[in-house]
């Protein structure tokens, strides 16, 4: 009987350590603990051009990540890009005149949505809309305009 109890113990240890390993991966390595979809609310913003923004791109305010982009779609009536933002429920005090703009992290980094809070007393509610938006800066467009301008000046 002694033999089988040691075997039981070892198998128990093995299973426990495997589960601890998987749990460690889930909680410590992935983003599961830091952000979950359940306690968040949705707001939409319409951009003239959402550039290279992707689903899961971060949404940040003052440089801190407060949510992520959940969907990007094209509105065939207004020819705008409709971007849905999932904001962590903790941050429910964004004024309703918040400005959303699409920035690039570094020169070649990924694009993200930056929220600039305004001065309104009213807060954005779930399914609310951001009215003031600023499109992504398309680098090629900016270079094109610059070249065009310098050619004009030479005339």
């Amino acid at each position: 009987m002694q033999h089988t109890t040691t075997q039981d113990t070892l198998v128990g240890l093995f299973v426990a350590s495997g589960i601890v390993g998987l749990f460690f991966l889930a909680m410590h390595v992935s983003n599961l603990s830091s952000f979950s979809d359940q306690d968040s609310y949705v707001i939409t913003a319409r951009f003239e051009n959402s550039g290279g923004l992707k689903v899961k791109s971060p949404v940040s305010a003052a440089g801190v990540k407060i949510g992520k982009v959940t969907s990007i779609s094209f509105d065939p009536k207004t020819y705008e890009s409709v971007v849905q933002l999932n904001i962590d429920a903790k941050y429910n005090t964004l004024p309703d005149d918040t400005t959303a703009s699409i920035f690039t992290a570094g020169l070649l980094g990924e694009q993200y949505v930056n929220l600039e809070p305004g001065g309104s007393e009213e807060y954005l509610k779930s399914n609310g809309k951001i009215e003031i938006t600023q499109s992504a800066i398309i680098l090629e467009k900016a270079i094109g305009q610059f070249l065009f301008k310098s050619a004009e000046e030479k005339k």
């Binding site: 089988t4 075997q7 039981d8 070892l10 198998v11 240890l13 093995f14 299973v15 350590s17 495997g18 589960i19 601890v20 390993g21 998987l22 460690f24 991966l25 889930a26 410590h28 390595v29 992935s30 983003n31 599961l32 603990s33 830091s34 990540k65």
Partner: protein, 260 residues
């Protein structure tokens, strides 16, 4: 020329019959699961010999793989001034690919070959036919517990491999080479997604566990009952498992991470 085509046809026929026998064998294994679960002692014994005895090789290899990833990743990333992303690199490569694949390869070498040799010898020494004489179904009694044990152990071992590897990478990265420890973990948490990366890695290891145990048991059960036949079957187990693990890994990766 005719001879060549004849041989091609013959080998196709042989591989089809083998596949058919293997599928039939799999159905027998799966239909035996219920009768194993009512006698968990059988399963426990096999979990010991398949899982616990593979524990050491998996953790030690995981540690070293993580340490090598930390070193190599650091040298490459520091050329671009991006040492802080070492954590993402180590964790993503371990969780997505190396964890499931390397642990499955080690598992095939450590446990799969032992299973084949054991079953093959049981067949060669007519223990299996002896059991049939006593009206004990050898598949239910011998094969299914081993299959279930492999199937259960594999994801646990792969998770352990990745976890130990990430710690090994951290030991080298922030302990030896001076990557900031906070950046290592926070970049990792920002870069690794629970569903996309970790769950997909676990699914991979479940598939590999299924396939390697199936191959190992079938090769043993199907071995020619001589000492030479058993040794050939053991070789085939390791070779076929390695091929199917790597091939399936490509297919699963293309399916899971293709549309990013």
């Amino acid at each position: 020329m005719i001879r060549f085509i004849q041989n091609l046809g013959k080998s196709t026929r042989i591989s089809f019959t083998k596949l058919g026998r293997a599928s039939y064998f799999l159905i027998q294994i799966i239909s035996g699961i219920a009768s194993v679960l009512v006698r968990p002692r059988l399963l426990l014994n096999q979990l010991y010999s398949v899982g616990v005895l593979s524990f050491l090789i998996i953790t030690i290899s995981g540690l070293f793989v993580g340490m090598v990833l930390g070193l190599q990743g650091y040298y490459t990333l520091s050329d671009f001034g991006a040492e802080e992303t070492l954590g993402v690199m180590v964790a993503a490569s371990l969780v997505r690919e190396l964890g499931p694949v390397v642990s499955a390869l080690l598992f095939a070498g450590r446990a799969g070959s032992a299973l084949t040799a054991e079953i093959g010898l049981m067949k060669a020494t007519e223990q299996l036919s002896g059991m049939e004489m006593m009206a004990v179904d050898p598949v239910k009694r011998i094969i299914t517990p081993r299959f279930l044990a492999g199937f259960i152990s594999m994801p646990l071992l792969a998770g352990l491999f990745s976890a130990v590897g990430i710690i090994g990478g951290e030991m080298i990265g922030s302990g030896l080479l001076g990557v900031d420890e906070g950046a290592y973990w926070s970049q990792m948490q920002a870069g690794i997604d629970f569903y996309d990366d970790i769950i997909n890695g676990v699914i991979k290891s479940v598939v590999f566990g299924f396939v390697t145990s199936w191959i190992a048991l079938f090769e043993g059960y199907d071995a020619i009952p001589t000492s030479e036949g058993v040794s050939r079957a053991t070789t085939r187990t390791v070779v076929n498992s390695a091929f199917s693990i790597l091939g399936l890994d490509f297919i699963l990766t293309a399916l899971m991470f293709g549309d990013n």
